[in-house]
């Protein structure tokens, strides 16, 4: 259970990191909370590890009432505890609290999770829910990819050799939006069997004005329920609406495992979705009545 030998590099600038990544069989080391177990199990044996922890540029965070821009090396725990982030996008602390445990959140980064892409991970689900744009650097320059285009499947980010995810940018929903992030795992902190993230805005009558639904953990990647989102515009929150949303789960691809069959995972996802919608709509309605 010891990692295989490798050469270690800790560049101080993004430029140096990009050059170091050009070496044969080089890999990025972010927080290491998924990579190091894989090394210890000898599932991987890279020749070079390029540690991004000393690159200030990857730690920058800009949070305004219009957008959130987060450096890839921000730790999950810093985001969990950020009062600024909680104010404009309160779903972040709610979702991040459900990632692993405090010791792994202290070290795990947002960029690491978004590039590792475990299908049940919270941050990819959150990024897709929030229409995140991924900013990717290489020695050739900078390019951008939508969450939809970046998340190609389990452990399969749309990154070419030599590229580094540097930032993720997300538009902020209007103040007073409703939100909820729920997941179910066999034990606290375990990989979730399924998860549901909701963002919702209601109009002055309390009807759905805007809705985003993202389900994680079922298949090889999180998935947006685009059909349900458009179908439910104008609907009144309530049991009927929650059931209509949950009916869309049956059509989603799901993969069973020794812990849960595909059918069971879908059942969990339906229940989580209904509960999350109820919570999110109640929070949004509450904000309307206060305003």
């Amino acid at each position: 259970m010891k990692a295989p030998p490798f050469d270690y590099h800790r560049p101080a600038s993004l430029r140096d990191a990009l050059l170091l990544l050009k070496q044969p069989d080089a890999r990025i080391l972010a927080g290491g909370q998924s990579l190091v177990p894989m090394l210890n199990f000898r599932l991987l044996a890279p020749q070079h590890l390029v540690d991004l922890s000393q690159i200030d540029q990857l730690q920058t965070c800009v949070i305004t009432s219009e957008k959130i821009r987060i450096g890839a090396m921000k730790s999950q725990r810093e985001l969990e505890n950020s009062a600024e982030l909680a104010r404009v996008a309160p779903i972040f602390p709610e979702a991040i609290r459900q990632i692993g445990h405090r010791q792994t959140r202290n070290r795990g980064t947002i960029g690491g999770s978004l590039c590792h892409l475990d299908p049940s991970a919270e941050l990819p689900t959150l990024a897709l829910l929030h229409d995140a744009i991924f900013e990717i650097a290489s020695t050739e320059g900078v390019r951008h990819a939508s969450a939809q285009d970046f998340i190609l499947g389990a452990m399969n980010p749309a990154l070419e050799e030599g590229e580094i995810l540097t930032h993720v940018e997300m538009p902020v929903w209007r103040p007073g939006h409703g939100f909820a992030f729920l997941e179910h795992a066999r034990r606290a902190g375990d990989f979730a069997l399924a998860s549901a993230g909701i963002l919702v805005a209601v109009d002055s009558d309390g009807r759905i004005a805007r809705l985003a639904i993202c389900i994680g953990g079922l298949g090889d990647r999180p998935i947006r329920l685009a059909a349900a989102e458009s179908e439910l515009i104008g609907a009144m929150p309530g049991k009927d609406m929650f059931d209509r949303a949950a009916a869309h789960i049956a059509a989603l691809p799901a993969e069973g495992s020794i812990h849960a069959s595909a059918a069971y995972k879908r059942r969990i996802a339906e229940t989580l979705l209904k509960r999350a919608l109820e919570t999110a709509c109640a929070r949004a309605a509450h904000m309307v009545s206060v305003a």
């Binding site: 259970m1 010891k2 990692a3 295989p4 030998p5 490798f6 050469d7 270690y8 800790r10 080391l29 290491g32 909370q33 190091v36 177990p37 090394l39 210890n40 199990f41 590890l49 540690d51 922890s53 725990r77 692993g100 445990h101 405090r102 010791q103 792994t104 202290n106 070290r107 606290a188 902190g189």
Partner: protein, 160 residues
């Protein structure tokens, strides 16, 4: 390729040449001889190896020693010294029978030290959440939670 690193452990700076693949936990145990930090799983699921790096709890099996170059590390050995009274948290573990075999104890203590540095008045639920990444096969957790509550109270009273 060996790398020269300096790490401050419990107030003392140690400079060594290490292979990059050596975990921080192995560095503490084998290079510095501090065997209080335990390895249960070496892949980040048991929490026995929890230590503080720059005041923040981390799993020392999921970090290489080279990554901690220039950092301040705290381990269970730093909580109290031979002959001196136990740290209030250690005393509480003793009073509440919060350990049997003791294998999980260093990780439990260091995790709870971080929690108690954030709040000296945690709820039971916060304590349970904090130690949710630390596995204990002996106690059933209840005495550990009680010890954390006792320590928080003791630390509150000490302050006044």
């Amino acid at each position: 390729m060996m790398k020269q690193i300096s790490i401050n452990v419990n107030g003392v700076t140690h400079t060594r040449s290490v292979e990059p693949r050596v975990s921080l936990g192995d560095f503490l145990r084998h290079e510095i001889g501090l065997t209080g930090t335990h390895f249960g799983c070496e892949h980040g699921v048991c929490g026995a190896c929890t230590i503080l790096v720059n005041g923040v709890s981390m799993r020392s099996c999921l970090m290489f020693a080279v990554q901690a170059d220039g950092c301040k590390v705290e381990t269970v050995e730093g909580l109290s010294h031979a002959g001196a009274p136990l740290h209030p948290l250690q005393q509480a573990f003793r009073d509440q029978h919060a350990l049997q075999c003791g294998f999980c104890t260093p990780g439990m203590l260091m995790t709870l030290i971080e929690l108690l540095s954030e709040t000296n008045n945690p709820t039971e639920e916060e304590v349970r959440d904090a130690i949710s990444g630390n596995i204990c096969r002996c106690t059933g957790y209840q005495p550990i939670v009680e010890a954390a509550m006792q320590a928080a109270k003791a630390m509150r009273e000490e302050k006044v």
